[in-house]
Symmetry: C2
Subunit: 119 residues, 2 copies
Amino acid sequence: MTIKLLIMSKITDKNTDITLENPEIIRSAAISKALGHPARIAILKILAQQKTCFCGDITGIIPLAQSTVSQHLKVLKTAGLIIGTVEGVNTCYCLNPDGVKELHNLLSELSTELVINCC
Amino acid sequence: MTIKLLIMSKITDKNTDITLENPEIIRSAAISKALGHPARIAILKILAQQKTCFCGDITGIIPLAQSTVSQHLKVLKTAGLIIGTVEGVNTCYCLNPDGVKELHNLLSELSTELVINCC
DNA sequence: TTTATTAATCGTAATTATACGATGAATGGA
DNA sequence: TCCATTCATCGTATAATTACGATTAATAAA
């Protein structure tokens, strides 16, 4: 086995081994955690439906205080699932394509792995 | 519109409307929350790989105290993602097919909705 | 019967999450 | 310039999460 292949297998191992240090597992958990509140799923769905919207729009739709909505938006932003752009006095939020793609890839990979190997 | 259709449309609305009371959103968030920790994703992957295993096996693989693993197993069980069967002094855990299917359906539906409508 | 093993639960401590109102910075309009 | 609007952040209270060791109940083995 060449050194290159050895390194490749190590990289592969790192992403397939079931370890708490596995970056795929860590990232999947982080994304799932961000999805782990009804308000945040609702926000993502609103952004998917309306493409872009202001923080105030969301506050109008979801019956939570403005500060609470802002906190949820921060969680989604920190998780890389949305992007916020300041437009004058408003902040325009939209889905982050990269984050959403990652979400889709990681979660469909995981859920497929689970359904296939379901007892 | 007949009464039946009216009722059907109401049921449909209940599952498509973006509300914090929408059962699909609530369930998706609950499942995501259960996935929201690396240890729990690792446990699910172990169960997918080994089909069934005892609590002690998992404790051997994941570097966490037995009580902590037991707590994570409880979270997954409460979320309906795994099943635990007492076998003598051991408890045999396996994936819950119904829960895993629900996970797969809800999360792929959500992630597809998000990727399709990504800016 | 006594002892060992397994795994759930209890008790506890530290951290994180969730919600709200209040405050403050930035911008737009009067 | 002054006021209104928007939204992030602060302060804060409460609840939930995460981790651990200790304990307990149930079963298996000696």
